[in-house]
Amino acid sequence: MKWKVLEKSELPALVAKLTEEYEVFAPVKEKNIVSFERLSSENQAYLDFWNTKKPPKDVFFPQTETLFTYRIAEKDVEIVEIPAAKGKRVLFGVRPCDARSFVLLNKFFSSGEHKDVYYLEKRRNTTIFGLACTSPRSTCFCTSLGGSPFGKDGMDLLLQDINDKYLIETITEKGEELVEKFPSLKDAEKADVERAKKLSEDAETAVKSKVSVKDVSEKLDRMFEDPLWDQIYQKCLGCGICTFLCPTCCCFDILDEETVEGKRVKIWDSCQFSCFTLHGSGHNPRSSGKERMRQRIMHKFNYFVNDFSEIFCVGCGRCVQECPVNLDIREIIGAISARQAE
């Protein structure tokens, strides 16, 4: 682990230099909305944000991704594969909660006999340059889910704002490789590292929102038929905000697209949509909002835990912030953990 210092005024130059060697994706502000965009001459990184509206998952798992194209000639078909993107990428300015989502997504997409190469290839070519969180919001609950505002999970480097300058902490070899391209970076002094440590502790205590997830998974094992589900889904509108803006939600659909040439695409889908599980016959095993809400909670806090020993939530708080009817996942988790063990 290495610590480097960067004067604040030098950051734009560092980012600019990165764009020369990498495809850089960074938070960009446009009309009040901050989201990860590919940096070009037309936009610039914006770091003065709480968190991006959309999580960075779409850099590896785009909302619409072409799996392959095909040409139909009478009865015959020719498939044209899309070569994996070879370009090296840097994902810059990722908050620790979102970086942690990549740890979970990696586990998921690389599990089993068949791996999702589209996600994994892009992830492998990418260096993740995190940005520590000095002022968490009231809806942040990362510390309840194993994260922290200065957490390093899923990152290769971490940029930390220590008031008058930045510290760059290299975490992995990939991160080191990147730092080596900037020989002018000075080593950090002990006092700087100490300060970062202090700020990190402050930030951690600033995360006031807590949820108790300790035995939620075990409780959910026995709660499939619990009357709780009849209550909590009632106000849910069944839209896709919570899942689309979730850094870990990664369910998708596969479709053939009608364009000049044939295209098979993978698109974001949501367990909250009624068509998600609708059979061709018209039968729907998750026919109401109740089953769909239960699926979302069970998937994150029980099924995923069974398979990967981790909760599929990083506590970023986006679903809490953006839900049009203020259906707060923290309350649901609270209600589950308040259930008495029978």
């Binding site: 392959f68 078909v77 089993g112 791996k115 053939d256 889908d269 609708l278 998937h299 069974n306």
Partner: protein
């Protein structure tokens, strides 16, 4: 890294119309690449994702026997977008096949035991694969008595009539074909599958039962299976769910924490009892 989303191309060699309503057809496919054909090794009870280019993909159970090496077969009912498009295909059309996926029937556990196959309606496809496999001369000795109970609404809806006829002539299979209600000209069994199962009453001694059919059939067949003394771990059911990727990634076909596509589609009755009722 191997890309699991790219289908193999296969040409439709033959289309067999299976029922009177003409909405169930069997498609016989040959891979364009002979190498791919050779590498496509599957087990009875597995399925594949079939692509009709321009319409999309859907999961279909393999209806042929793994012993049929020169082609694979799928029996498809015309229901949704892809199956309709497939039904509109002519012989010679090239479609896509990804797979095989899923766990398949527990053949190892069936060896040296009596096998009871219970099927209803068009869900008989993978059971046909299994029956064909067991009856194959290279395999028949590995299994003991084979009892097949298969029911359809009426004679016109019975699929694989050519197989049923051939099997009927053999003495190494106890074949019971039934229809729901008597119709003129039908000389075989009449009655719902559970009732016929009760009548045939195969012994549960050293036996394994495989059940496949619509949910309503499960509901009435399982009590009979229990009555006959089968242990839950000796009974296997095959499930259907809406699937897209077939490889446990797209997130929609789970029943509880089991993905039907990769942990199933075949589950023992014991596993089934542990699963939440959401299917």
């Amino acid at each position: 890294m191997n890309n699991p989303y790219i289908p193999n191309l296969a040409a439709i060699r033959k289309i067999i119309i299976e029922n009177e309503a003409k909405d169930i057809k069997t498609f016989e496919l040959v891979f364009k690449d002979p190498e791919a054909m050779k590498n496509f090794r599957y087990k009875c009870g597995q399925f594949a994702e079939i692509s009709v280019f321009g319409a999309g993909e859907c999961p279909i159970g393999l209806a042929s026997s793994p012993m049929d090496e020169d082609c694979i077969q799928f029996t498809v009912k015309k229901v949704g977008v892809v199956t309709t498009a497939l039904h509109n295909c002519e012989e010679g059309t090239v479609i896509g096949v990804r797979g095989p996926y899923g766990n398949g029937f527990p053949l190892e556990r069936m060896e040296g035991r009596n096998v009871i196959i219970v099927g209803g309606g068009f869900a008989f496809t993978t059971l046909r694969s299994l029956t064909k496999f067991i009856l194959h001369e290279a395999n028949r000795d590995r299994f003991k008595d084979l009892t097949v109970i298969y029911g359809a609404r009426n004679p016109g809806e019975l699929v694989y009539k050519y197989d049923l006829e051939a099997w009927g002539k053999r003495d190494d299979i106890n074949l019971n074909v039934t229809i729901d209600r008597a119709v003129p000209g039908w000389t075989g069994l009449v009655g719902f599958v559970p009732a016929v199962l009760k009548e045939v009453a195969p012994s549960s001694d050293n036996a394994l039962a495989i059940v496949c059919g619509p949910p309503i059939m499960y509901k009435f067949t399982m009590p009979v299976i229990n009555e006959l003394g089968f242990r839950p771990e000796d009974v296997f059911l095959s499930f259907e769910m809406k699937m897209k990727c077939g490889i446990g990634k797209c997130g929609r076909c789970n029943i509880g924490n089991k993905f039907v596509c990769k942990d199933g589609p075949v589950f023992s009755y014991k596993e089934f009892q542990m699963m939440p009722k959401e299917y």
